[in-house]
Subunit: 352 residues, 2 copies
C-alpha cells in the first residue's frame, strides 16, 4: 500500500464514518484482488482507477449486494436534481419545490440537465458518487439498471418527479392524477353544455398523455356523448403543436365548440389558432389547459386549466429522498398528488 493510498483512504473514511456494510469492503477487495483503498475509490467515483479494475469491483459490489452503511458524516450537504431538459416551462416550478425542502433541511441543490438524453451520462453518475449527496431527484429522466445499482450500493436514494406518469415498478416516485384531471376538464365542458369537444393529446409515448385523454373519453361516455375521431389530435407538449392541431380542429366544417388541450403551452397554441381564424374565446370557443403555469393567469382571457401541483410534487419527492437518505423508511414510496380544476375566463356555454 503506497503512502498516497493511505492518505486517500483516510480522506475517504474520516473519523465518524461508520464501517462499511454486510459484505465488507475488505471482502470485496480480496475477491477483486485489489486493495481496500481501491474499492473505496471506486465507491467514491474517482477517476484514478483502471477501467478494468473498476468494472470488476462494480460487478462484485452488485454480486455481493454490497451496501455502504449510511452515516450522516459520510454525506455531503447536497441534494441532486436532474432534468431531462431544462427548457420546459414548468421546470422552474420543480426547482422551487426542491429548493424549498433543501433550504429547510440545510442542503444545497445540485442541478443537472441530461442534455436532451433520457438517461444521464456516466460522467454525471461519477459526479454523484464523488460528491455523495443525501439523495437524487430525477425529472423525466431515467437511470439504467447499472446506474441504479451503483447508487444503491452507495446507499444514495433516488426518486422520480414523474409528470410522465410511468415510473418503474420499484422506483420511488411522485406523480399526479392525470386521468382525474382529464375527467374534470371534460366534465366542466359538458356541464357548460358543450357536445362537440376536441382534445389534443400530448405525445402518446408518455403515459400522462394517455391518462388525460382516457379521462376525456370517460367524461364523454358518461355524459352520453359520442367520441368523434376527427376531434382527437396528438402532438408534442409545445405551443407549436397546439397551434397546428388547433387549426386542424377549427377548420373543420363541423368544428368543436370547445378544446381540451394536453397542457397549457398547447392551449396557448390553440389561442393563436383561434385568433387567426377570427374566433373569440370563450364566446366562439372554450379552451381548457393542463398544468396551471403562472402565465395562464396573465394571458387574455385567463385560461381555465387543470392544476398539476408541480411545486408540491417536487417537495414531496425531495422529502421522500431526504427521509430515505437519513434512514427513515417512508410509509409509501409511490405517491400521486391530486389535480384540481381552476376555472378562469376561457370557458363558457357554447354560443350557438
Amino acid at each position: 500500500m503506497s503512502p498516497a493510498n493511505v492518505q486517500s483512504h483516510q480522506e475517504n473514511a474520516p473519523a465518524g464514518e461508520p464501517s462499511e456494510g454486510t459484505a465488507t469492503l475488505a471482502e470485496i477487495a480480496r475477491a477483486a484482488g485489489v486493495s481496500a483503498p481501491t474499492v473505496s475509490k471506486v465507491l467514491n467515483g474517482r477517476a484514478d482507477v483502471a477501467p478494468g479494475t473498476r468494472s470488476k469491483v462494480e460487478e462484485l459490489l452488485l454480486l455481493h449486494g454490497y451496501r455502504r452503511r449510511r452515516g450522516s458524516t459520510t454525506q455531503s450537504q447536497l441534494i441532486d436534481l436532474v432534468f431531462h431538459e431544462l427548457d420546459s416551462a414548468w421546470a422552474m416550478e420543480v426547482v422551487r419545490g426542491v429548493e424549498n425542502v433543501a433550504r429547510e433541511e440545510g442542503l444545497s441543490l445540485v442541478l443537472s440537465e441530461s442534455a436532451g438524453r433520457l438517461t444521464p451520462g456516466q460522467t454525471w453518475v461519477d459526479g454523484v458518487l464523488a460528491r455523495r449527496p443525501v439523495g437524487v431527484i430525477l425529472v423525466l429522466s431515467d437511470l439504467t439498471a447499472a446506474q441504479r445499482a451503483q447508487l444503491t450500493s452507495r446507499s444514495i436514494p433516488y426518486a422520480v418527479v414523474d409528470p410522465a406518469g410511468d415510473p418503474g415498478d420499484d422506483i420511488p416516485s411522485v406523480g399526479t392524477t392525470n386521468w382525474q384531471g382529464g375527467l374534470a376538464a371534460t366534465r366542466h365542458l359538458t356541464a357548460l353544455g358543450h357536445r362537440r369537444i376536441g382534445v389534443i393529446s400530448g405525445p402518446s409515448r408518455m403515459m400522462c398523455s394517455r391518462a388525460r385523454v382516457d379521462g376525456y373519453r370517460a367524461a364523454m361516455e358518461t355524459a352520453g356523448l359520442p367520441i368523434d375521431p376527427a376531434l382527437v389530435r396528438e402532438g408534442e407538449f409545445q405551443h407549436e403543436a397546439g397551434y397546428t392541431a388547433g387549426l386542424e380542429l377549427l377548420r373543420q366544417a363541423d368544428r368543436p365548440t370547445a378544446i381540451f388541450a394536453g397542457n397549457d403551452l398547447q392551449a396557448l397554441g390553440v389561442y393563436e389558432a383561434a385568433r387567426e381564424l377570427g374566433l373569440r374565446i370563450p364566446e366562439d370557443l372554450s379552451v381548457v389547459g393542463f398544468d396551471d403555469l403562472p402565465l395562464t393567469r396573465w394571458i387574455g382571457p385567463p385560461l381555465t386549466t387543470v392544476r398539476q401541483p408541480l411545486i408540491e410534487m417536487a417537495e414531496t419527492a425531495a422529502r421522500l429522498v431526504v427521509d430515505l437518505g437519513r434512514g427513515r423508511q417512508p410509509a409509501t414510496t409511490r405517491v400521486d398528488l391530486a389535480t384540481n380544476l381552476v376555472v378562469r375566463s376561457s370557458t363558457a356555454a357554447p354560443g350557438r
Copy 2:
C-alpha cells in the same frame, strides 16, 4: 496536536494541494494562538470551531491579506449560482446559461436562493467554503464586505449577473445595455408616429429601471416630443404593477397611444388593462416590453420587446468565474451585452 486534528488536517490538505499563500497558514495560526489545523478548519467553513476563535482567525486572514493558493486539486467540480429569488420569470434563462457552461466544463451546478433576502446568509457562505466551488455566480444578490473577504481569502472567485445594472466598483459582473434598450423601444414608437407615449418604470431602486426610462427620455427629446409627467408611472417588475399603471395611464382623457413597459410581465399587465377598457392592441394601443421571455411569442398579439440576452449574460458570467477560478485573468471583468429590439405584432402606427 490531537490525533483527530492530524486526521482533519490530512483530509483538508490531500496530496497535490499546493502550500498556502504568502502569509502562511502557520503564521496565521501562530498570530491567532491556535493550531494550523484549526485555521484550516476555518478556511473550510467547518462548524467545529468555537465562534470566538473563528472570528479571530477571520480577522487575521483579512489583516494579513491571506490568499489560499489555487490549485485544481483543491477545488470541487462545482459552480455555485445564487438567486435573490427564484420566482422571477427569467430565472430559468439564467439557470440554462450557467448550466450550458457548467456542462462544457464538466462542472455541476449548485443552485441556492437567498429566500428573498438581498444578501445570502452565513449558512450559505459556510456551505461555499466547505464545498469549495470553482466559483460563485450571484444574481441580483449582494454579498457583505465580510462575505466578499471570506471568498477572496479562499481564492473563490465570484461574479454578478446583473440585470439591475448597479454592480459594485470592483465586482466582476455582466449586465446589459438598458439605456440603449429604452432608447430603441421608444424610437421604434416615435418612428411609427406615436407622440403621446406612456412609460412604466421598474422600481427606481434598481439602476436598470432608471437606465431604461432615461433611454425613453432621450428618444422623446431627440424626437422633439415633450415628456408629460402624467405619462410616467413606476411599479414592481410584475404583472400586477403593469395592470395598475396601465389602467391609470389608459383612463386619462388624453390617453397615450403607446406604452413602453418596464419589462414583459408589466407589458402583460398592460394587455389586461387594455382588454378591460376595450382597447385593441395594436389598433388602439401599441405596447413594447423588455426582456423577451419565451412567453412573449405566444401571447395575443405577440409582443414587441427589447431582448435582454439573459442566457448569454449568464454564460458570460459563468465563463468569467471559471477563468478566474482556473487562474486565467480575463481581459475585462465588467461586461455589458447588447440588447436588441424584437418587433412583433403589438406595435403599429397610431390609429387616430
